[in-house]
């Protein structure tokens, strides 16, 4: 389906442009210039964030924090195997995908752990990365309550995932 949607959107916009007698080629080029500029402006932020994110994921501290949190989460029968995924998800999209893949390979995609991890991965996003990239792209210095709300929302997502997977698959 996606194979159709994107090309169709592009074609529709171009046909409508011709119909409205827009100088489509030159206008497109103008947009490309803007895209180029925006990407170049974005590079320093992405570069800086990737260094910080790589250092934190390579340092193994996530596993250490997970070990600290284990007793707490086993009390509410939350599978502690999923903790590294839940903690890494807001920080790094690529490393959380690696972890999801490991979990699915180890415990099986159709196990409770496998299903819960799949739902968590699907219903959350890389909050820290998105917030820093989006704000930096337009030069916002005071981010106010954004990160707090973003991270609390991630926590909510994990809790709701846990409840929902319990309701549907147990």
């Amino acid at each position: 389906m996606i194979n159709y949607i994107i090309p169709l959107i592009v074609v529709t916009i171009i046909i409508y442009g011709i119909y409205k007698k827009v100088d489509i080629f030159d206008t497109f080029i103008d947009g490309v210039k803007e895209g180029m500029k925006l990407s170049i402006n974005l590079f320093p932020t992405i570069f800086a964030m990737i260094i910080a994110i790589t250092l934190i994921t390579d340092s193994n501290i996530i596993n250490y924090i997970c070990n600290l949190l284990k007793p707490l989460f086993s009390k509410i029968s939350f599978p502690t195997e999923v903790l590294p995924l839940a903690l890494l998800r807001p920080i790094s999209g690529s490393s959380s995908l690696v972890i999801l893949n490991d979990i699915l390979a180890k415990y099986g995609p159709d196990s409770f752990i496998g299903r819960l991890s799949s739902v968590i991965q699907g219903s959350t996003d890389t909050t820290i990365y998105i917030i820093s990239m989006y704000f930096a792209s337009i030069g916002i210095k005071k981010t106010r309550y954004s990160l707090t709300v973003g991270l609390l929302a991630d926590l909510l997502s994990v809790i709701i995932s846990f409840i929902m997977v319990n309701i549907f698959f147990r």
Partner: protein, 195 residues
């Protein structure tokens, strides 16, 4: 806050990495930059394609038509955006792309939406209420088809790779709704405390 977070990540990453686990901190530090280049390289063509196409949509008036049509719905979530403002077109394109699980295509619209929201905020360097709501909507990730997760499940031999789709949709809508409530709550608390 990102300021501190960045510093903390680097400091903890290096110190903790040196003490435990990571036996090649220097390597992480030196090679992570190339990952940054890869990411920007994969983003550039998408940015150019979508901003180019959207420029045509904007010049032909299509974006305005869409913005006007979706005004009522979008303004329930973003009460501060004026009716029919072009930012509504970019915000809705971003949301639709995210829903389809096309995160990469959603980013150019998202960045463009942010710059439109900055214009609405008199180009100030303080984040506006609408910007934060928009980011919360993005980080809560409203997905209808979790494409990557499904393909990973297939890869690992799931007997029904799509069985999680319905649960994911319910979860993501519920958590996005709660996240938006949270955003509103924080907005009022913050306004009382600081403004």
């Amino acid at each position: 806050m990102i300021n501190y977070l960045w510093g903390i990540f680097i400091i903890i990453g290096v110190i903790f990495g040196l003490l435990k686990g990571n036996n090649n901190v220097a390597n992480s530090l030196l090679t992570s930059g190339s990952k940054g280049i890869e990411m920007i390289l994969s983003l550039v063509p998408l940015m150019c394609l979508w901003l180019g196409t959207m420029k045509i949509a904007s010049a032909s008036g299509l974006l305005e038509i869409i913005s006007k049509k979706l005004s009522k719905v979008v303004r329930i979530i973003f009460p501060e955006i004026p009716e029919g403002d072009p930012s509504i077109g970019y915000i809705s394109s971003n949301i639709v792309m995210n829903m389809l699980g096309l995160g990469n295509a959603a980013t150019p619209f998202g960045l463009k939406a942010m710059s439109e929201l900055k214009r609405l905020n008199n180009n100030s360097d303080v984040s506006s209420r609408s910007m934060i709501t928009f980011l919360v909507l993005n980080t809560a990730s409203v997905t209808i088809i979790p494409t990557t997760v499904i393909s990973l499940r297939i890869l690992n031999g799931s007997t029904s790779p799509t069985e999680i789709v319905l649960v994911t949709i319910i979860t993501t809508f519920l958590s996005t709704f709660l996240a938006l409530l949270l955003d509103r709550l924080f907005y009022f608390i913050w306004r009382k405390k600081y403004d």
